[in-house]
Amino acid sequence: MNNGIKNNTNIKVEKRVSIIDRTLRRLQENWRSIVIIIPFVWLLMFFLFPFFIVAKISLAEMKIASPPFTSMVEWADGGIVTIRIVFDNFLYIINDSLYIDTYLNSVKIASTATVISLLLGYPIAYGIVRSGPVAKPILLFMVILPFWTSFLLRVYAWMGLLADQGTINSLLISLGVINEPIQMLYSEFAVYVGIVYTYLPFMILPLYANMEKLDGSLNEAAADLGSKPTNTFFKVTLPLTMPGVIAGSLLVFIPASGEYVIPDLLGGGNVQMIGRVLFNEFSRNTDWPVASAVAIAMLFLLVFPIIIFQHYQGKAAEGN
């Protein structure tokens, strides 16, 4: 009887030791899981979790307090839990024409800038691909180089070029083309220039990578069969470079539609874009629930281009 109890505790102790031992051994064997868990947990904590909080706040009401919103779950007396979900913020966005207009304006500006970047970037990328072995790496390097200098200062450079007394206006006046300076800074035009200037390398690089892989003999074959260069371009080259066109366009469109710095510095108060409204809503009005609702709405705007982009990225990765 006594012996039996002793045995039992012994077994328990042994069991516990063996569990510790086993976990240690398992960790040693499963170092792979540790490798996965560290970045995984980081992203869950600092990337995914914040979005849930934003989604939660977008369904709350504004309150003059810190933090300035009501909590969703409240413990009433007697342990009753009340859950408050308010869709007012979304209704407010939909009913206020400011948000709808800004939304549409962002899409318009981003897509127009994407088309301009494509029209400029395509021939530049093609020209670089067709350059000699010495010029090619230098030109490619020159496209990448601006990326390493400050984005903010590149936008700032255009403030000096586009201002009323700026370089372009002074040049045009001294050439006698115009008498009065044209207002270019703080206009939609300036925002287009800024976006195209900043994001053109993002258009050129995927196009270049795509064109570099093209087989030149296809063009020769088309020419041998009597196709004119223009015809060959539209029937052979352009269809083959479509993956590059799509990747480049999305790489311009997605960041451009959420842009804050460019409309703020070059557009002044005259150009409303959703990223800028969101920033101001947050910092000046401190209406967090509405700002969070704008953020959620903005995500919906971008969710399709992002999915398309990831789809193509996945395909390209498989192709490699």
């Binding site: 909080i53 934003v54 933090p67 903005m298 992002i306």
Partner: protein
């Protein structure tokens, strides 16, 4: 694919390069303007450089930005490497799709949304755990690591897929344990990608304005936050001087990197020739 470059393409490439570089050249020229008004030429001078170097605010911001960039680049490279290894070398595991999604999403997420959600999270954390007390170095660094590690992971993933697994398999055949293979074969072979990932994370952090403005508190300025607060009100000659210095530093660093790469290539070529001669 080399070929004839038509006149049209040559013109477009020239216009493109002019478009990229003329604004920056003008920025540099105006930094040597004596006049307080950037666009009114008042003769050559280096007075704005002096103003810049004497500004304590600027030095504090430079210091802050460099510290954040260094810590960020190191952590982002480690986390990015772990993430890339998980995605490329470990086959299927539970949550892989979610993991891959979270890893790519920061690349395409608008900065305002990332910044907003991180700020809201820090405030919630403070409410429940009393941390972070003040927003500044720690919060900006955490935010930067989160988005830079995605860029690093992409760089390293590309290298991992590109270099194939034959050496690793050979080591395993010779009896090396998987962990040994990782530390003595895979990671050393990743060195070039790790270096470029680190540099990328470093520049991304130095360049970030929007996310830093969201997650920094009063008094904790990074360099872009400081620059932005000044140029919002218009052109400033000292900012032109600052821009010139940044362009110069970048140019020198890139020239050194190009030189090292060129030497390495030359050495590789020599090695190849020697190897062939020995045959």
């Amino acid at each position: 694919m080399y070929g004839k470059r038509s006149k049209f393409l040559t013109v477009m490439v020239t216009i493109g390069m002019a478009f990229f570089y003329i604004p920056m050249i003008l920025l540099v020229i105006y930094s040597f303007n004596y006049s307080k008004l950037v666009l009114v030429w008042g003769g050559w001078s280096t007075r704005w450089y002096k103003v810049l170097f004497e500004s304590e605010e600027v030095w504090a911001a430079v210091n802050m930005s460099l510290k954040i960039a260094l810590v960020n680049a190191t952590f982002a490279t480690i986390l990015g490497m772990l993430a890339a290894l998980s995605m490329v070398r470990f086959g299927k595991f539970r949550g892989r799709t979610l993991f891959g999604g979270m890893l790519v999403a920061p690349l395409v997420m608008p900065e305002v949304i990332t910044g907003l959600s991180l700020l809201v999270m820090f405030i919630t954390l403070k409410q429940f755990f009393g941390w972070p007390e003040n927003r500044g170095f720690a919060t900006i660094t955490i935010a930067h690591i989160t988005f830079s590690m995605a860029y690093v992971a992409v760089t390293i993933q590309a290298r991992l897929t590109g270099m194939g697994q034959s050496l690793e398999e050979a080591a395993a055949d010779l009896g090396a344990k998987p962990f040994k293979v990782l530390t003595s074969i895979t990671i050393p072979r990743l060195t070039p990608a790790l270096i470029s990932g680190w540099l990328l994370a470093f520049t991304l952090s130095l360049d970030d304005l929007v996310i830093a403005s969201f997650v920094s508190g009063p008094g904790a300025n990074t360099l872009p936050v400081l620059i932005f607060s000044r140029i919002r009100l218009g052109l400033r000659p000292d900012i032109n001087a600052l821009a010139t210095i940044i362009i110069l530093v970048v140019a020198v660093c890139i020239a050194i990197a190009a030189l090292i790469m060129f030497r390495q290539q030359k050495r590789d070529l020599l090695d190849q020739q020697l190897a062939e001669r020995e045959k």
